[in-house]
């Protein structure tokens, strides 16, 4: 399924009656099976895009379309993951993975089957009866991915899912996520502030400006090994792409 933002603007009311524009006139498209990253300075409304796609709130103007249908509420085709793993601490890992299926009319036996399948998919065998506090940060994030995949979403939204991890875990997890996502062929939108991560994982990168966020550049990453960022990482071209992003984000001017 494809995801499309059509002239999307979102304003939030501030307490004193004013309005804050989070994103302004954003248009771009993520094709079916494509992996697109959105980068931008902090506070540029990256996460706002994600919340609107998940149907948590509506754009002030413009439309968010999932397979050409405007998103009007919570959407069974969209699964999202944040920097926080959002595992329910009182549930075992297996029960956590089942969480998303519980209000979708999936039978108990079916839920268990699908959860076990995703558990294996995300390399968490043997941890089904553990509780979140017993797992490392990387494993918890994998459990969160398993929960996201269990509902079989057509579109996956990732909001800085690796940013709270240490450098090594991050690389390994990026690799494992990339492979899992490539295998399932799902449309993916990754929100990140890590430029290298965007280059390593995406087909295309959207660069947003400072708030109010608008699209300043769109960069196609013409490199192989999207399903294996660790391989892409050692390619010399990666540096060029990162430099391009650098330029679009005007980081040098800001550093001066």
């Amino acid at each position: 399924m494809a995801l499309e933002f059509r002239s999307v603007t979102k304003q939030f009311g501030t307490g004193d009656g004013g309005a804050l524009t989070a994103v302004s006139d954003i248009s771009f498209r993520v094709d079916e099976g494509e992996f697109v990253s959105v980068v931008g300075p902090s506070g540029c409304g990256k996460s706002t895009l994600l919340s609107m796609t998940a149907g948590l709130y509506q754009p002030t103007s413009g439309e968010v379309l999932v397979s050409n249908e405007p998103v009007t509420g919570s959407n069974a085709h969209v699964g999202f993951m944040l920097q926080k793993d959002l595992l329910l601490p009182w549930r075992s890992i297996l029960q956590n993975i089942e969480f998303g299926l519980e209000s979708r009319g999936v039978s108990k036996a079916d839920r268990r089957d699908r959860a076990l399948k995703e558990l294996a998919h995300c390399h968490l065998e043997g941890f089904e009866n553990h509780y979140p506090y017993q797992l490392s940060g990387g494993m918890r994030q994998r459990a969160a991915l398993a929960r996201t995949l269990a509902i079989d979403p057509q579109i996956i939204l990732l909001d800085e899912p690796f940013s709270a991890l240490d450098a090594q875990t991050k690389l390994l997890l990026q690799n494992s996520f990339a492979r899992t996502i490539a295998e399932s062929g799902k449309t993916t939108l990754l929100i990140t502030h890590d430029l290298a991560e965007a280059v390593l994982m995406s087909d295309r990168i959207i660069v947003l400006s400072e708030r109010p966020g608008s699209v300043v550049a769109e960069i196609r990453v013409d490199l192989p090994h999207r399903e294996e960022p660790l391989k892409r990482r050692i390619m010399p071209e990666v540096g060029d792409y990162a430099a391009q992003l650098f330029k679009h984000l005007k980081l040098e001017e800001k550093a001066a």
Binding site: S74, L86, W90, F99, E102
Partner: protein
Amino acid sequence: MTSQRAVLLASLVLLALVLAAWQFLPTALGVPVYIIPTLSDCLAELARMWQVEGLLGHFLSTTLYTILGFLIGSALGAVLGYLLGMSEFWEKVLSPYILALQIAPKVAFAPLFIMWFGYNAMPKLLVTVLIVFFPVLVNVLQAMKTVDRDLVNLARAYNLSRLGVFFKVEMPSTLPNLMAGLRIASTLAVIGVTVGEMVGGNTGLGYLISYGSGQANAAMVFDAIVLLTVIGFLLYSALVRIEARVLHYLPKAHG
């Protein structure tokens, strides 16, 4: 391990010292029995109370009303806490009253309840319910206000109904606070019953305190206080055990 044994040993020695001091110091310092009775005076009085004053009945009555008041008060507090937690509007409208009632000394209501309901079990039960109610209410309400918004959003994105969000996310999220509120409430429940019994009626350990003090029988008062403490301690310990079971998923603090 050795440190654990050292702690145990030190505790036992301290206990023996306290008991010995209780037994011998009052006599040595010439304090009369009606001011501070010795340990053996208290034990003898305990036996007399058991045989003559129907101590068991008083003890059981106090225990019953402590538990009953605790259960009713905490159930009401939790339910209201959850309801207000779901409605910001009513929480704002009612919060001044809640604050006022919370600050008002609940035990001071006891004579009023006796005027309203007479010399029966109702006043002490009401005082207990009232005193137990607030810590539970306040803890639950506070927890409801601080439930992780992202968790709620996740549940909403997974299509959960309002009730589903409550039972699957909000309620379990508030359990640690609820349990903390219940623990505080359990210690207060004994106070509520005691005051109720002291002010009116002729049953319970609180009654024995006012009766004993009227007779200058300090040993009786001492015994009643110790037994009240025992009731409170048992209730508290039961809650700690329940809490350990309910909150098994929280990492345990070692050390």
